[in-house]
């Protein structure tokens, strides 16, 4: 048995088993170093897994050597590989470059537990992504959720606590809904393995418990993914979480739930429910469109930088969903690649915000006048991230917007309305983003503002790393494109 065969297990086990050890690290910066090293290791594993998946197709791993459906199966497909890359890279980069930001927001004696929780989030998220078993997804969803409550609760503002409480309540409702759905499916099929479920559902298609189960799973996961109108937990959680946590979560947390959602909708239900595509698009297209437009609209009038971007995240979830709800290969590709590209854009933006926050006291717009003159590098990276968000060509965001519009246009007349919606929201994005740019570059500095300096070099380096990734993947998107094409094909059952 070579180590390569164990990679799917190691992907989860490495961060998970090191997390408890991090709790014990008392030395200065030791916990950080250990967490970062672990995260890097996870990233390396993700990269090797991606290579394997690209070479040989989906990888399956039987936990405890018990074959599915009796044991728990781990399954890494092109889709999971993409998500693994996003999650591990987001964690690694934020940890590696974000130490100063975390140090400034969190007392040192609380840090070991914080970093342990961080690794548990990582382990939970990758655990969800590699899981091939419906209940196992629930378990790791809880690991990641509980740990993310901890990370958000580390926010220094007292408002973090009510926000995280709301998140906890809604997150648990979401997970429980999911559990009910899985229970109903299990009741009618007797299996928990996703692949097995797909096969066995064929015998009991279109009976009420299954349809209700589909509904509950969709609602539960949509809650976790902050799909409009189930997004209310997100803005405050993102706003009051420590900046690095926001950067990490904005890049990957909701996407993992979307990943599970798409896997269920397409792998489990798509083949078996006659009306499924119809239901799926009738419910989700309007929700996605309204979500995109409303959330962008709220962002237009929001003045707290982080909350503004949080609303923009909700709109972006709408994009992903819109692509997916087309239920075509091109639509899915667009949605999936947008997960990747949005992670890049939001990562850069929140990273830049973390840099800003090391210098300014408040992230409200009225407090940021002229900040770009003092922090040119930070704001330049912010601009790149913003352009990617708007979808300016040459940035990663453009790729997904292009694919999304072409996918939507395939729908004929409806498609034209959807294109209009997408374009209008892009312009709204341009407007809310440009408000920030104008204030930062041309606004008057607030009177009481202290002497500002450029952010710490190391954090800037991280910010620019992500910002340049936006451009690199805007000009050379072959890797994410390849993975999302394969992912879309496998979701639609066109790949073995």
């Amino acid at each position: 048995m070579s180590i390569y065969q164990h990679l799917p297990a190691l992907q989860v086990v490495v961060p998970m088993l090191i997390a408890p050890l991090v709790v014990l690290m008392r030395g200065r910066g030791l916990a950080w170093a250990m967490a970062t090293a672990t995260s890097m290791m996870a990233f390396i594993i993700a990269v090797s897994l991606t290579n394997i998946v690209l070479e040989t197709g989906a990888v399956s791993y039987a936990m405890g050597s018990w074959q599915a459906p009796y044991g728990i199966e781990l399954r890494v497909t092109a889709f999971s590989a993409l998500l693994l890359l996003i999650v591990t890279a987001a964690s690694t980069i934020t940890l590696l470059f974000g130490k100063q930001s975390i140090d400034s927001q969190l007392e040192e004696h609380r840090q070991p537990m914080f970093y342990a929780a961080w690794l548990l989030v990582l382990a939970g998220l990758v655990g969800i992504v590699v899981a091939g078993d419906a209940f196992n997804i629930f378990v790791f969803m809880e690991v990641s959720s509980l740990a993310s409550y901890i990370l958000i609760a580390a926010g220094p503002n007292r408002k973090a606590m009510p926000s995280v409480f709301k998140y906890l309540i809604m997150g648990t409702i979401g997970a429980t809904f999911y559990l009910i759905g899985v229970g109903l499916i299990y009741m009618m099929t007797g299996t928990l393995n996703l692949a097995d479920m797909e096969v066995r559902l064929q015998e009991v298609q279109d009976i009420k418990p299954i349809i209700v189960a589909a509904g509950f799973i969709t609602v539960g996961l949509a809650l976790k993914a902050a799909v409009f109108p189930l997004h209310v937990w997100l803005p405050n959680s993102y706003t009051y979480a420590p900046h690095m946590v926001t950067a990490f979560f904005a890049a990957c947390a909701t996407k993992v739930s979307l990943f599970v959602l798409l896997r269920f909708e397409f792998l489990v239900f798509h083949q078996n429910l006659v009306e499924h595509v119809g239901h799926f698009s009738t419910f989700l297209i309007p929700l996605a469109v309204i979500g995109i437009l409303l959330a962008s609209g709220v962002a237009l009038f929001e003045s707290h930088l982080k909350r503004l971007l949080a609303y923009s995240s909700i709109a972006q979830v709408g994009y992903i969903l819109l692509g997916a709800s087309m239920a075509t290969a091109s639509g899915l590709t667009a949605g999936i690649i947008h997960m990747f590209n949005h992670a890049l854009a939001k990562g850069a933006l929140f990273f830049a915000i973390a840099c800003l926050a090391t210098q300014v006291s408040s992230l409200r717009l009225e407090n940021l006048g002229g900040v770009a003159r003092k922090m040119p590098w930070t704001m330049a990276a912010f601009v790149i991230g913003g352009l990617s968000l708007v979808g300016i060509p040459g940035t990663a965001g453009f790729i997904s917007k292009w694919l999304l519009i072409s996918a939507v246009l395939e729908k004929g007349t409806l498609g034209i309305f959807l294109v209009v919606a997408v374009l209008v929201s892009s312009l709204m994005a341009a407007v809310y983003f440009w408000r920030i740019v104008e204030v930062a570059y041309f606004g008057d500095a607030p009177k009481q503002s202290a002497e500002l300096h450029e952010a710490p070099k190391w954090m800037l380096l991280g910010t620019w790393f992500v910002a340049l990734a936006n451009i690199y993947y805007g000009l050379n998107p072959s890797l994410p494109l390849l993975l999302s094409n394969q992912a879309a094909a496998s979701l639609l059952g066109q790949l073995p």
């Binding site: 060509p393 694919l403 072409s406 395939e410 892009s426 312009l427 440009w434 104008e438 041309f442 050379n476």
Partner: protein, 489 residues
């Protein structure tokens, strides 16, 4: 160096220059300007050495990375783009001389940022000129918009920022809202976005859809300033004059009409457009813009705003000519790109000279200024005459060809428009000349100024000379662009 590499060099040289300028900018202004000149000259050499190959019928091309399946970032040099690139690279040098005088004479802030972004904008212009497919063109089109935004907002006060917002807003909104969907639509219909002589759309799209697609394209390319998406151009006049001169008389606006011309020739195909009745509106829209913009220009009291409206009218000349779809008119269109560039940059340079020397911006303040600033005003006169189309200036040549094209097409409405607009041009330029040369200078502000800084005067003289010389030496451009006719036949 292969021709393909030359294209890349043309793109990279300004960028490298920009980095160089940024690096030395803080330390030494002299070194910074030196870098700017070296970059500009290097670019000129690179671009102009490509000319002989083009005359010989070469079409160098290079493909970079594949952006989307079947869609690459691709460059290909063809006559229209070659001419545009040659023009921009030539005028950049002149403009750099001019900027030197203007920025220092005016003691502007953030000069380094200015030069850096100028170089970036030039790189984007090269990208547009050499783009081998619509996607590449679109990418550089947006980069041009973004890199010029800070130049427009250069002053940074409330009014400037508001105007810059209009500039950015219109250009971005039209490009994302109309241009991009048009491109994607084209791609979905045809499966390619390459510029192919004779067009790619024929047989893929038909009926009113063609007209709709043309609407998306023409108004999506907001830089062409076809009414009603022209409002950004007067707004952009808050920028420092070198920006207005090179970018908003030459590079940016010409990028717009250049894009439309390219789309007409290489995407739709002239023959396809000619048989498709749903696209006739373009001609009338252009005619309307020519007349309306001229009438608005009549009522302007601010010199730069008047020039801006004049630009809008002149741009629509080019679109109108291109929309005539006759060989002679296509040549006229491309000639007018050059002719108007020389003339308008001269006018803007002159306006800038006046501003730096006397801080005067309104037409009424110009009384008698011809005597204090003879060189500047002489150049201004030449530019104005070129706009009207009086021989021996550049404007005459292009108008002649456009008129010829109109006769070829038997389009009397175009002929009438040409006549009417000439009258209107005269009506708004001649009073300025009269005021400048023949009125007494008693108006405020202070009239105790002399000629503008040397560098600026030299620059304005060069462009005025070019305006005159083009009357005689237009053969190379004609030769080059005749290749287009060969294509369109």
């Amino acid at each position: 160096m292969t021709s393909g590499m030359q294209i890349i060099a043309a793109l990279l040289v300004p960028l490298i220059g920009a980095i160089g300028i940024a690096l030395v900018g803080r330390k030494s202004p002299n070194l910074r300007e030196a870098v700017t000149f070296i970059t500009a000259i290097a670019l000129l050499v690179i671009v102009w050495t490509m000319l002989p190959g083009l005359f010989a019928g070469e079409r160098p091309e290079i493909t970079l990375t594949e952006l989307l399946p079947g869609l690459s970032i691709k460059f290909q040099v063809e006559p229209l783009g070659m001419m545009f690139a040659a023009l921009a690279s030539l005028l950049w040098i002149v403009n750099s001389i001019y900027s030197l005088g203007y920025m220092r004479g005016n003691k502007e802030q953030h000069q380094t940022r200015f030069y850096v972004l100028f170089a970036v904008a030039l790189s984007a212009v090269m990208g547009i000129a050499f783009a081998g497919n619509l996607l590449t063109l679109f990418i550089f089109y947006e980069i041009l918009t973004l890199s010029t935004y800070p130049l427009v907002a250069h002053k940074g006060d409330g009014k400037t920022v508001a105007s810059a917002r209009v500039y950015m807003g219109i250009l971005l909104a039209t490009s994302i809202g109309l241009f991009l969907p048009a491109i994607i639509w084209t791609y979905m219909a045809t499966g390619t976005l390459d510029f192919v002589p004779g067009g790619i759309l024929e047989g893929h799209v038909a009926g009113p859809a063609v007209g709709l697609l043309l609407v998306l394209f023409v108004f999506g390319v907001g830089k062409a300033a076809l009414m009603p998406v022209h409002r950004w151009l007067p707004a952009a006049m808050v920028a420092p004059t070198p920006v207005s001169a090179l970018l908003h008389a030459v590079a940016v606006v010409k990028a717009g009409v250049f894009t439309i011309t390219k789309i007409i020739i290489y995407i739709f195909g002239v023959d396809f457009l000619a048989v498709e009745p749903s696209t006739d509106w373009l001609l009338y829209a252009a005619i309307f813009t020519v007349i309306a913009a001229s009438i608005v220009a009549l009522r302007q009291t601010n010199l730069k705003r008047l020039l801006a409206y004049s630009t809008i009218a002149q741009l629509s000349y080019i679109i109108m000519a291109a929309a005539l779809l006759t060989p002679m008119a296509e040549i006229g269109a491309s000639l007018h790109i050059v002719a108007h560039a020389f003339g308008k940059i001269t006018l803007f340079f002159a306006a800038g000279c006046i501003y730096v020397a006397s801080k005067k911006t309104e037409i009424a303040q110009l009384a008698g200024i011809g005597r204090r600033m003879p060189w500047t005003m002489a150049a201004f006169t030449i530019g104005a005459l070129s706009m009207i189309g009086v021989p021996p200036t550049a404007g005459f040549v292009s108008k002649w060809y456009i008129l010829g094209g109109a006769f070829q097409a038997d389009s009397y409405i175009v002929i009438a428009t040409l006549v009417l607009s000439t009258v209107l041009n005269a009506a708004y330029f001649l009073p300025i000349l009269y005021i400048a040369w023949f009125r007494n200078d008693e108006t405020t502000p202070a009239n105790n100024h002399g000629e503008a800084p040397k560098a600026m005067v030299i620059a304005v003289t060069i462009t005025a000379a070019l305006t005159l010389l083009f009357m005689a030496f237009n053969q190379p451009v004609l030769d080059l662009e005749s290749q287009l006719v060969g294509i369109t036949r």
